[in-house]
């Protein structure tokens, strides 16, 4: 949908709840260089939701929704879990269907949108938890990558099943004692970023969401590469402060501690050769655009 079509009927504008009036007035649909800096001075694409106070997943949602390059033409796919408490409040179309089938849903969706809107940008972004991505849905996660499906997969890695009350997951650290891991988890955290690279992803990043500017960068890269080249994968640490026994204001520090060199979420990035080329082209275009804007401003 172009930004022009996200508008309220004039004759009924006055009765629309204010959050929708705000959305139309000051959300950043259609803004070319939208990003985390719009936060605080624009209407965000998320309404009030019921995640816990201080949940890092909430932060991640804010940065991601602020950074999608084309929210007016993006459809998201979620899965069962804490994220589905936020998705109803997100101002881009999004789908919940079953637990673990998100990459299968996205495969069908992306192909349908390509058939129906040839030549138009329609981005698809999957956002699911680690249980959905790595355990119950692993076959569909990997197979979508093998098939080179052109969409982005984001995994909110909180290293356990949060929504069901803190059970062991494949991305949990070895030795962690949790429900269903009564003597501590017996095997290593699954190395999905590496598997993603070997499975055909063109852009893979493993990081935390402690820096909004970094999240913005990786989201933009991931979506652009998925649009033009092939699958991309982001694994973002969004700790469940409730289940790891932290207080509501300690999520940020937990992420900062976990991204130190040699820690689990030290920044890791893989970019395929064609993706590197695309990013270079995009950067050049961006530079050109900014220079032109500067010149225009100078003339005025």
């Amino acid at each position: 949908m172009s930004k022009e079509r996200i508008k309220i009927s004039e004759d009924l504008y006055d009765i629309m709840p204010s959050d929708y009036q705000d959305l139309v007035k000051s959300a950043t649909y259609g803004k070319e260089d939208r990003g985390w800096k719009d936060i605080g001075s624009s209407k965000e694409l998320i309404e009030q939701h019921s995640l816990c106070a201080g949940c890092p997943e909430s932060m991640a949602f804010r940065y991601i929704l602020a950074s999608l390059p084309n929210p007016e033409d993006t459809v998201m796919v979620g899965s069962t879990g804490c994220t589905s408490l936020v998705f109803p409040m997100v101002a881009v179309h999004n789908i919940h269907s079953l637990f673990g089938n998100q990459n299968a849903i996205a495969s069908g969706l992306k192909r349908a949108l390509s058939v129906r809107f040839p030549g138009r940008v329609k981005d698809v972004v999957v956002l699911a938890g680690d249980g959905a991505t790595v355990d119950i849905g692993l076959d569909m996660t990997l197979q979508a990558w093998f098939r080179q499906e052109k969409f982005t997969t984001i995994c909110f890695d909180n290293e356990l099943y949060a929504n069901t009350g803190g059970q062991e997951s494949g991305l949990m650290q070895k030795g962690f004692v949790a429900k269903m891991a009564p003597v501590g988890k017996l095997f290593d955290k699954v190395r999905l970023p590496e598997i993603a690279r070997e499975s055909g992803c063109h852009y893979v990043v493993n990081c935390t969401v402690s820096k909004p500017s970094l999240v913005e960068k990786v989201i933009r890269n991931a979506v652009h590469i998925a649009r033009e080249i092939g699958p991309t994968y982001l694994q973002l640490y969004t700790p469940c402060i409730l289940e790891i026994g932290k207080n509501s204001m300690e999520g940020l520090q937990e992420m900062r501690d976990s991204e130190k060199p040699a820690e689990r979420f030290a920044y890791k990035e893989y970019v395929s050769e064609p993706a590197k080329q695309l990013l270079a082209e995009l950067a050049a275009k961006d530079k050109e655009r900014k220079a032109a804007a500067k010149q225009l401003a100078g003339q005025a």
Partner: protein, 92 residues
Amino acid sequence: MYNVAQVIDEKCTAKKGCRLCIMYCPEANCLDLNSGKMVAEVNIDRCKGCELCVVVCNAAKHEAILMQAVSATGQLMSKKGESAALGQAYQG
């Protein structure tokens, strides 16, 4: 009855470009920039009281955010910047 964040305008450094609390607040449009006064402002209805804003503000030594009690209907129980009277905090 619970606590929400409140920004002390005089101490807020938003006019100097600080956006720490706005950036790190987990909730959307909960801490917004008041572009008239050029200070950060809490939307009480959206604040879940996690105190992360206090942590980042204090770490930068601005100390411009306090947690203050609100009633069940979302009214501040004392003037902004003043702590609630003893015993008032958990009456609801």
